[in-house]
C-alpha cells in the first residue's frame, strides 16, 4: 500500500465518523464529511510538498 492510498483511506473513514458525530442532520453530516475528507487529503498533499522542498 502506498502512502497516498493510506492517506486517502484514513481520510475516508475518519471523515465518516467526524461527519456523523459532529453534525445533527443527515444533509449537514454529508457536507461536513466531504469537507473533512477534502481538508485531510489537501493538507496531506500540501505538507508533503513542503517537506519535499525542505528536504531538497
Amino acid at each position: 500500500m502506498t502512502h497516498f492510498a493510506a492517506v486517502v483511506l484514513f481520510a475516508f473513514f475518519a471523515s465518516i465518523v467526524f461527519g456523523i458525530t459532529q453534525r445533527e442532520t443527515p444533509r449537514r453530516m454529508i457536507r461536513y464529511g466531504i469537507y473533512c475528507f477534502v481538508l485531510f487529503v489537501a493538507s496531506a498533499i500540501a505538507l508533503s510538498w513542503i517537506m519535499f522542498l525542505i528536504a531538497r
Binding site: 502512502h3 493510506a6 483511506l9 484514513f10 475518519a14 465518516i16 467526524f18 456523523i20 458525530t21
Partner: protein, 169 residues
C-alpha cells in the same frame, strides 16, 4: 443554606451552552435513571430511552457502533461501526503494532488510543494479532490506523451518550 454564588446569577452570559442544555428536567430525570423516578414522561419515552443512562457509552466503547444500535440508530451505527472496524482491520493487515505495555510516555498514549477499540483490542491481544515491533514502513501506518480507530470509537461512544441524554438529536 442557599449558595452565595450560583453560576450565571451575576453574569448570565457566562453560563456555558452545555450547562443550559443539560439542565433540563428531562435530562435530569435521564441522568438519575428513569426507573428511579418514574413520572408521567417516562411512560411516553421509547424503550431505547429507558434504563441505565451510561449503557450506550459503555456498549459503544466495547463494540464499535453498538451504542447507536442500542438507540435504534441503525444507519449511523452501521457507518460508524463499519468505518472503525475497517480502520482497525487495515491496521492489523498492515502489521501494525498493538501496544501492550507502558514503558514511556508515547507508549502510554498509544496504549490509551488502542484501548479505545474496546473488545477489538482485547480479542486481538488474545488472538495474537498485530506485530510486536514495527519492521516495515506500512507497519508504522498500521499502528497509527489502530490508534486512530480507537480514538474515533471513543468519539462515537460519546456521541451515543449524547443521543441518549438528549443533548443531541
Amino acid at each position: 443554606m442557599r449558595p452565595l454564588l450560583v453560576p450565571g446569577s451575576l453574569f448570565p452570559a457566562l453560563v456555558r451552552y452545555s450547562q443550559k442544555g443539560m439542565a433540563t428536567e428531562e435530562n435530569k430525570n435521564a441522568a438519575a435513571g428513569s426507573d428511579a423516578q418514574p413520572g408521567p414522561k417516562s411512560a411516553s419515552q421509547p424503550a431505547s430511552q429507558q434504563g441505565f443512562v451510561y449503557l450506550p457509552l459503555i456498549v459503544g466503547w466495547l463494540v464499535p457502533g453498538g451504542g447507536h444500535f442500542l438507540l435504534r440508530k441503525w444507519g449511523r451505527g452501521a457507518l460508524l461501526g463499519g468505518s472503525i472496524l475497517a480502520m482497525f482491520a487495515l491496521g492489523i493487515a498492515m502489521q501494525g503494532k498493538l501496544y501492550a505495555g507502558a514503558h514511556d510516555v508515547l507508549d502510554i498514549l498509544g496504549l490509551a488510543g488502542d484501548l479505545g477499540n474496546g473488545l477489538l483490542y482485547f480479542v486481538s491481544r488474545i488472538a495474537g494479532w498485530g506485530a510486536d515491533q514495527v519492521m516495515v514502513t506500512t507497519a508504522d501506518y498500521g499502528t497509527r490506523f489502530i490508534v486512530v480507530a480507537g480514538l474515533l470509537n471513543v468519539i462515537a461512544a460519546v456521541d451515543a451518550h449524547n443521543l441518549r441524554t438528549g443533548r443531541k438529536s
